[in-house]
Symmetry: C2
Subunit: 114 residues, 2 copies
């Protein structure tokens, strides 16, 4: 990931409502969530939400697809992982550092025993 993409992604996440949206999408998994459902869950005006979705999409952190009348938004886990890798790379000149975590979204939302 290039620095300018990292800054864009960080800026996309660096806002209260947008971070909420992203985390909701992260928890929703690859199937995503309808804009209306997110609006209701977070109590946000639909046009405000569109503004935030745009930021997340431009940052590569979310995707959209239409499904009937609804727009379904989903998180892009790959970008999140790239960002984390970018933040941790070159840490202490590489000495004693563990590689960044990769979130590998499961297709179904099965709880994993702790």
């Amino acid at each position: 990931m290039e620095k300018t993409n990292a800054v864009t992604a960080l800026a996309a996440l660096a806002q209260d409502n947008r971070l909420d949206v992203f985390r909701l999408l992260v928890q929703a998994g690859p199937d995503g969530m309808a804009a209306g459902a997110i609006a209701e869950a977070l109590d946000l005006a639909p046009n405000t939400l569109t503004f935030h979705f745009d930021r997340l999409r431009m940052a590569g952190l979310a995707t959209v697809r239409r499904e009937g009348r609804s727009m379904i938004y989903a998180a892009r886990f790959e970008t999140m992982n790239d960002l984390i890798e970018f933040l941790t790379e070159n840490c202490c000149d590489g000495a004693f550092c563990v590689p960044a975590a990769a979130c590998k979204p499961a297709r179904k939302r099965n709880k994993v025993p702790a």
Copy 2:
């Protein structure tokens, strides 16, 4: 890490010059770097740099100490790790996700732990 701290940390990193500063500190390791050296390395005005240092410190991403006439800034790796953990937690409801990476800075230069 709480959400508001995460937003602050993300905002602190979501700016070109500040991300450069932080990465420089990350690479410098626990011993840190003098403000003047950073100013020279990144070609930034000292007062502008103070502004950015403040953001990083308020976000818990950097510390300062005085050493003679110089102010030595250093990255706080713990906060970076907390942030990464926050971003990846609850990923896909916890299913199939690897825990976040931890950067454990080595004291590779002959420096005694405080």
